[in-house]
Amino acid sequence: MTTALSAKEIVSQLGTKFPGAIEEAGAESVLVKSDALPAVVEYLKTTEGLKFDYLNYITAVDYYNYFEVVYMLTSLEFNRSVVLKVRCYTRDNPTVPSLTGIYQGADWQEREVYDLMGITFEGHPNLKRIFLWEGFTGHPLRKDWNR
C-alpha cells in the first residue's frame, strides 16, 4: 500500500537540510518556497531511503489571491508518496522554477499548466502552449478568464 509520507516526517528531514525552505506543513502536503523547490525535489529524488523517483503529476489551482502549483511524487521502491505545493502571489506572470531537469515527465505537464493556467516555468526548454493554438490569448482555467 502506498503510504503517504506525513508532512511532519518530510518537514523534519527537509527543515534541517534546507532551513527556511518550508513555508507551511499541512496534514497531507508541504508548502515549499518557490526558489527552494528544485533543490528540495532533487534531494527527495536522490537521497537514499527516500528515492522519490516518479513524478505522478503537476497541476495548479487558482485561489484568486494566489496560484498554487501542486506536485505529487512517488517512490516506487518504498511505495510512498508526497505532495508538494508552491504558491505564486502575483497574477501577471507568476513564475515557478521548472523541474524538467529533474524529471523528463515534467516537460508536457508544465506546458499544460502554462497553457491553461498561465504560470511560467523558469528554465523550461520549450515552454509553449500544448493544447490550445498559438494565437490563443489568455489562460482558460484561471477563474477570471472570460470567454
Binding site: T2, D53, Y54, N56, Q104, R129, I130, L132, W133, P140
Partner: protein
Amino acid sequence: MTTTQELTVKTEPFVLNMGPLHPSTHGVYRMRVTLDGEVVLDIEPIFGYLHRGIEKLMEERTYTGCIPLTDRLDYVSAMNNNFGYCLAVEKLASIKVPERGEYIRVITAELQRIGNHCVAIGAMLNDAGALGTPFFYLWRQREKIYDLLEMLCGQRLMHNYMRIGGVSQDIPDEFLPAIAKFIPQLRSFIEEFEFFLKQNEILIARAKGVGILPKELAINCGISGPVARASGIKHDLRQDDPYSIYDRFEFDIPTCENGDCYDRYRIRMEEMRQSLRIIEQAIK
C-alpha cells in the same frame, strides 16, 4: 572511375508534416518530423486538436452533472473514468459506498479494462499490418462486453452508470448468468488468440525489439499503466494503493522486461486474464 568522394551526396535535414490525422486513426495528432533521407532525426508531437476543455465545463456543473463528461474522457474506458471521478467526490464528501455497489463497480471496471485492452491490441495489430482479421476477432469480444454493460445501464459506449455513492441501478437478474457464460468463453478465446499470434513471424518481426522504452526512462517520464509494466515497473494502484475493494481480490501484476511493442502486447493479454480472475471472485 568514380571515387567514393564523388558519390557522396550532400544532404540536409528535411522537415515533413505528418498529419493532423483523422480521429478514427486513434485521435487527431500531428508530427513534425525531421528527416535525413529515411532516417528520423527528430519528432515534435503536436496535439490538442481534440481538447474539449472538460475541466472548464465541469466548473459550471453540479457534482452529479459532471459524470457524463467523464464518460467522454476516453470513449474506450468510460466506466473506469466514471469510477475515478466518483471516488474523488466520495473522498471529498466522506461518502461510503454500499458493499454491493463496490462489487458491481469492480466487475464493470474490469470488464471495461478487458474491452479497452481488446481495442489496444487490435489497433496495434492493425498498424503492424494484420489489417482487419485480429482486430475484428477482438472487436467481437468487446461487443459481448458491451452487451453486458448495456444490460446494466442501457448504454453501450457512454455508460454514465456510476453515481456518487454507488451505481445508478442494481444489476438485472439476467446479468450474472450472462457473465458466468461469458468468462469461460473469453478465457478460451484468449488462449486461442494467443496461440495464433505467439509464433507469428510478422508480429515478432514488427514488434520485438521495436520501440523500446527502458525502465529508467519510463520512470523518469512518469509513464503509468500497462506501458510502464511492459517496461518492468511493477506498479499497479489496485495493489499498491488499493481503492474501492481491490484489496479483497487475489490477482497478479504481470510485468515484462524488454519494454518493446511485443511486451506491450503481451502485458495486455496477461492483464485480461487477471481481470477475468478478479471478475470471477467478485461475482461470488
